[in-house]
């Protein structure tokens, strides 16, 4: 109970604060850099920048068919665990209550059986992703500690959450505390590692969308 109180109290407040601080630090730090102004005339009939950005953000959700030939696994597995994380994080009632306490809005959740099933699927998908990262020559070469740490800190909340639900491991309140602490670790690391892509994808795709839209090129 003391550990749980620490997790729900100081740890959670601290980590959410670090999360907010880090996310703003990184976003502002990048956005406040000087930007080259593009004086070249846009391609005739090209969309306004904001529209090109939005189109790119959506366009990039599904790779071109030609890239799916080799990238099917990465894409499908990526979708599986992203979808799984989304369901588990946003549709498990205790999580909804947590989010409600932060944002004041709530929505209906799913039965626990569904959440547990999706959680297990997510954990499996993450393990497969790790196995792929550890075996693919390309991924072995380009992976950094950041990638493994980000993986671990994504996997731990899923694993501890499942364990807490399934009453595996230590007592429930300890497991719950560990689950919350693992989420704290996730939140603390989030802004500093690649987990930040949850925000950056908008900027990254948008920027390229603007560049390509200006040129009338397809993304």
């Amino acid at each position: 109970m003391e550990l749980l109180a620490f997790a729900r109290g100081q740890a959670l407040t601290f980590s959410v604060a670090v999360f907010v601080l880090g996310v703003l630090w990184r976003l502002v730090g990048v956005l406040a850099l000087p930007a080259w102004r593009d004086f070249s005339p846009p391609r005739e009939g090209s969309a306004p920048n904001w529209l090109s950005a939005i189109r790119a953000i959506f366009r990039k959700m599904i790779p071109h068919r030609t890239f799916l030939k080799e990238g099917m696994f990465t894409t499908v597995n990526g979708y599986v665990f992203h979808f799984g994380l989304g369901v588990v994080v946003f549709l498990f009632v205790p999580h909804i209550l947590f989010l409600r306490s932060l944002f004041g809005v709530s929505w209906p959740g799913l039965p626990n059986g569904v959440i547990t099933g999706v959680g297990a699927l997510t954990a499996g998908s993450l393990l497969v992703a790790l196995a792929y990262r550890l075996t693919s020559p390309v991924l072995k070469l380009i992976s950094r500690p950041n990638d493994y740490l980000s993986w671990l800190l994504t996997f731990l909340p899923v694993a501890t959450g499942l364990a807490a639900t399934a009453h595996v491991g230590p007592r429930y309140e300890t497991m719950l505390a560990l689950h919350i602490l693992s989420v704290c670790a996730f939140l603390i690391w989030f802004p500093f590692g690649k987990l930040m892509h949850a925000f950056l994808f908008v900027l990254s795709r948008g920027a390229t969308g603007i560049r390509f839209g200006h040129r009338g090129a397809q993304l």
Binding site: W25, L31, S40, D147, L200, F201, A207, F212
Partner: protein, 435 residues
């Protein structure tokens, strides 16, 4: 020659006689300068998913993971995190990102110059939309300043600085134009003080593809506009753009733009060259810091608009063809419809490759790779993709709209002892003008 190898056995060239630390610092300074907002966003965003690997012709044809596009950015990325990124002060304080070493830069030289054609196919594959090709182009700025460029490219750089073109001295330009006109029986305009259209050329047109010079003239004469070639601004290819020599890039660009403005042209026609389009159409205005008072269009766009306007009529060929989209024109320039419209006007039945338009495979020689003899073996490997595409298309013609692509493809065919002609869209149009 200054060919050397790194400790790990990777060949590299180095120019000048400078201390390693000095080279390294020069590279870092240039890297740092390049990180504007978009580049920074892209440096922050990589997920290490590896999707870009299979978009790259060099990775696909060698299977060597070092050709994974994002891997080619490693020194650039390290410089970013150490000096520019939002957490740079922390990285420096805690020593989490070491400074880029000279050994690393030497090792990456061949990945950045030989192993990348700036074709940008990886950009399309990246789920985060990271414009990897643009970043590699920026990384070349630092490599150039460090004097870590393939010798052949550096040689072209020096030639361009001395001659105003990597192919031919400016003094000879007017003569080449006149001689070509005479040889092909086409009246040429050169160095007219005033004109509406200024035509620029690519290096190959001053040597191997001179017919292109008179083919443009024939079309312009046919439609009866005021046009000219100008000794003061004839070279549209931009070795500065390719090598990462920014001052040279600016100089080369300013030459053609200043000249076009001086003769009062409303349109500057770029030759059948890919990167000339990138350097002039999209980057020229950057040097002036304002909108330019003229249109800059590619030869292919010029052909398409001329055909569309009905000012020229073409003989119908009634044959089949395939078309190689030059990367800088199609993928990175947005010009995919124009060549198809021209082919259609020629009565050519276009059999599209499976991957065409913005998804086209690179010829393997862009970004200076075709000029960089050191990269020949790699380039010939990459050529196998294009060869298979062409063979599978089973067409009577194989057309493209970029001189560099044409040379790369012809060299590849020659190396393979494969009897396949590569044709220029411009030349075909000129050859099929209705009287």
């Amino acid at each position: 020659m200054t060919a050397k190898t790194t400790g790990s056995g990777v060949a590299f060239d180095a120019q000048g006689d400078r201390a390693d630390a000095e080279r390294r610092d020069a590279a870092m300074q240039a890297f740092v300068r390049d990180f504007a907002r978009t580049a920074a966003i892209h440096m922050e965003s990589c997920l290490r998913c590896g999707m870009c690997a299979n978009a790259c012709h060099f990775y696909v044809t060698t299977g060597d993971p070092k050709y994974t596009p994002i891997n080619k950015l490693r020194p650039f990325e390290q410089a970013y995190h150490r000096h520019v990124g939002p957490f740079a002060p922390i990285y420096r304080l805690l020593g989490l990102k070491s400074n880029v070493s000279i050994a690393m830069l030497q090792e990456w030289e061949s990945l950045i110059y030989d192993g990348c054609t700036l074709c940008g196919r990886c950009t399309l594959a990246c789920p985060m939309g990271i414009d990897i090709s643009e970043l590699i182009k920026e990384a070349r700025h630092g490599m150039y300043r460090a004097g870590l460029v393939p010798d052949r490219l550096e040689l072209m750089d020096r030639t361009a600085k001395a001659w105003g073109s990597p192919a031919s001295p400016a003094e000879d330009f007017a003569d080449i134009i006149r001689e070509t006109g005479e040889a092909n029986g086409v009246p040429m305009n050169v160095d007219l003080p005033e004109a509406d259209y200024v035509v620029t050329v690519a290096p190959a047109e001053l040597t191997d593809h001179t017919k292109a010079l008179s083919d443009v003239a024939r079309i312009l004469n046919k439609i009866g506009v005021k046009w000219t070639y100008s000794t003061a601004g004839f070279e549209a290819s931009n070795i500065g753009y390719i090598n990462g020599d920014l001052p040279l890039q600016e100089k080369m660009t300013r030459k053609i733009i200043d000249n076009a403005i001086a003769v009062g042209a409303h349109t500057l026609i770029l030759p059948e060259c890919g990167h000339a389009y990138g350097a002039a159409r999209w980057e020229a205005a950057r040097w002036y810091g304002k909108k330019l008072p003229l249109r800059i269009i590619h030869m292919t766009e010029f052909l398409a608009e001329t055909v569309a306007s009905g000012k020229i009529k073409l003989k119908k060929m009634g044959e089949t063809t395939c078309f190689h989209d030059p990367c800088q024109l199609a993928r990175r320039g947005g010009v995919t419809e124009a060549p198809r419209a021209v082919l259609k006007a020629l009565g050519l039945d276009l059999k599209e490759f499976e991957d065409h338009g913005e998804l086209a495979w690179c010829c393997g020689g862009g970004g200076g790779v075709v000029s960089n003899v050191r990269a020949d073996p790699l380039r010939f490997k990459a050529f196998s993709i294009k060869r298979k595409q062409v063979e599978d298309a089973h067409t009577q013609h194989f057309v493209t709209a970029c001189g560099q692509c044409r040379i790369t493809l012809a060299l590849g065919a020659k190396h393979d002892k494969w009897d396949q002609k590569v044709e220029s869209l411009l030349e075909i149009v000129a050859d099929h003008l209705e009287d």
